[in-house]
């Protein structure tokens, strides 16, 4: 009887936890979107202090940082999961990536400022911002890649190798496709962080927006939406309605992340469905 009661008690607790999370999310979204959505007009984007430049910069920096971090992060993760022997050296690499993953982002920001802004003398640039963001995301990418590849059953590797496939063929045609949903989750995670990252970009990409619209010059300064939100709130320009801009920007940021996640996760769901077949959940 006691076990039964404990079971019920535990179920109720877990339910409460789940509902609390959902309630928090709903409250959060209602508040932010409710306050911000009314300001999201055409004027908000393309007016005299419109945020279309910042919106563009957010995605441009995200894109560049992924270009820098994906090849290295995926490569290192694949190496760690498939090729690396188990020894002190790989333990050390694993420990390093874990430590890097827990470094506060502002430390990365200051590091980026010292290296890109001062040492290389670039000043505040989109390039420096993206590269520093890539540094922030690298350890997570390595970690997620390694975990996703390790989750692929050993029996798939054996089957492929026993058919005379090389390690590279096995990796490309069996392991990576099977691990893809996990990899996409990881990329969504780091992309979300990149879209929302502020501390790093304040020190590396700066708080100015190019006068040219959609300036793809990587050596220009590039304020992103998240940095804009910080700038507007912390140091309101006289004569502008900073509260409205901030509310609108916050809502826009949230919408952006939601849309971005959906765009990445739908293909992943579809792929998983195709891989696993209709008969499995």
């Amino acid at each position: 009887m006691k076990a039964h009661q404990a079971n019920r008690f535990a179920s109720i607790l877990l339910w409460i936890g789940a509902i609390a999370i959902l309630a928090l999310l709903v409250a959060f979204l209602t508040l932010i979107l409710g306050r911000g959505l009314p300001y999201l007009t055409a004027e908000f984007f393309s007016g005299s202090d419109g945020v279309r430049g910042q919106l563009f910069n957010s995605f441009y920096i995200l894109f560049l940082s992924l270009i820098f971090s994906l090849p290295i992060g995926l490569g290192a993760g694949i190496y760690m999961a498939e090729y690396a022997p188990q020894n002190r050296f790989t333990d050390l690499i694993r420990l390093s990536t874990e430590s890097l993953a827990s470094v506060p982002s502002i430390v990365f920001g200051l590091f980026g400022m010292i290296v890109f802004v001062n040492m290389f003398g670039l000043g505040f640039t989109i390039l420096g911002g993206s590269a520093t963001l890539a540094l922030l995301n690298l350890p997570i990418l390595v970690r997620v890649t390694e975990e996703s590849l390790r989750a692929v059953p050993r029996s798939y590797r054996e089957a492929s190798l026993a058919l005379g496939a090389t390690m590279w063929q096995t990796l490309r045609k069996v392991i990576l496709p099977t691990a893809l949903p996990g990899l996409i989750t990881g990329i969504t995670l780091v992309a979300g962080r990149a879209l929302g990252e502020t501390a790093i970009l304040i020190f590396t990409a700066g708080m100015n927006v190019s006068r040219i619209l959609f300036d793809v010059n990587p050596l220009a300064a590039g304020e992103t939406l998240a940095v804009h939100l910080f700038a507007v709130k912390s140091n309101p320009l006289p004569g502008t309605n900073s509260d409205q801009i901030a509310d609108g920007t916050a809502a826009l940021l949230i919408l952006m992340v939601i849309v971005f996640n959906i765009c990445l996760s739908l293909p992943s769901r579809w792929l998983q469905y195709r891989l696993q077949g209709k008969h499995r959940g």
Partner: protein, 250 residues
């Protein structure tokens, strides 16, 4: 003619010796069953024949394994070609999370076949040879993971036949299957032995006597006895074999 000749094969996992000086020959187009209690080395031995054992870290192999007169542990052996010739079916069905068609086409594709028509032909022939065609011909493009366990195992056999092997290694291929699926696999083995040299590891002595021409009995890393199946089961030469097949241990 002897297809496989093994001479004084020792295998070590680190310091521990798992196979002691195994010598055995297997004839072309015959079925050899390897029996013995768990941990006797029968699966370990099987995996030396296509060098899958190489994938286990810390394994050391001494001795000679000749297939068609070629030493497969010689330095100039191409492991890819070896594994193409010596295919393997595993204990648990392990189809890829791809469609039925893609599973069978996988092998030919990695070995360079790109012609769509040719691939379709190979897939159809292989599935027919594995006695699976009639059950899956209408769902070739559905995921292989939706098939039953027995169908999955026959799909794995079809996938293997598609690369054109000469030797089939089967590592307890029916231990995860129900009796009807087991029967179908056994019937399939009887058909396949007209074309292939088959070596099957099984813990089921009835299965060994049903499907094999010759049987080898392994015990703690030693090959105790190897003979014509009916002889080994009725008049074993060694006391240990007799004890095992009469159920006195194991």
């Amino acid at each position: 003619m002897d297809k496989i000749v093994v001479k004084e094969l020792d295998l070590f996992y680190g310091e521990q010796q798992a196979l002691n000086s195994i010598s055995i020959a297997m004839k072309e187009r015959s079925v050899t069953a390897l029996i013995g209690p768990s941990g006797c080395g029968k699966s370990t031995f099987l995996r030396t024949l296509n060098r899958m054992q190489d994938l286990t870290p810390g394994v050391k192999i001494i001795g000679q394994v000749k297939i068609d007169g070629q030493d497969i542990y010689a330095a100039d052996t191409d492991v890819v070609l070896l594994r193409k010739k010596v295919g393997m079916v595993f204990q648990h069905p392990n189809p890829f999370p791809k469609s039925v068609f893609e599973n069978v086409a996988y092998g030919p594709r990695i070995h360079g076949e790109t012609d769509k028509k040719k691939l379709s032909e190979i897939v159809e022939t292989s599935l027919k040879d594995a006695a699976l065609w009639n059950e899956v011909k209408d769902r070739l493009h559905e995921s292989a993971l939706g098939l039953s366990g027995g169908q999955q195992q026959r799909l794995c056999i079809a996938r293997l036949l598609a690369v054109g092997p000469e030797i089939l290694l089967m590592d307890e291929p029916t231990s995860a299957l129900d009796p009807i699926s087991t029967m179908k696999i056994e019937e399939l083995i009887a058909e396949l032995k007209d074309k292939y040299t088959i070596i099957i590891v099984t813990h089921n002595m009835h299965q060994a006597s049903r499907v094999s021409d010759r049987t080898a009995f392994f015990l703690s890393g030693d090959l105790i006895e190897e003979d014509i199946t009916s002889v080994l089961f009725t008049r074993p030469a060694k006391k240990k074999t007799e004890d095992y097949i009469s159920g006195r241990f194991g």
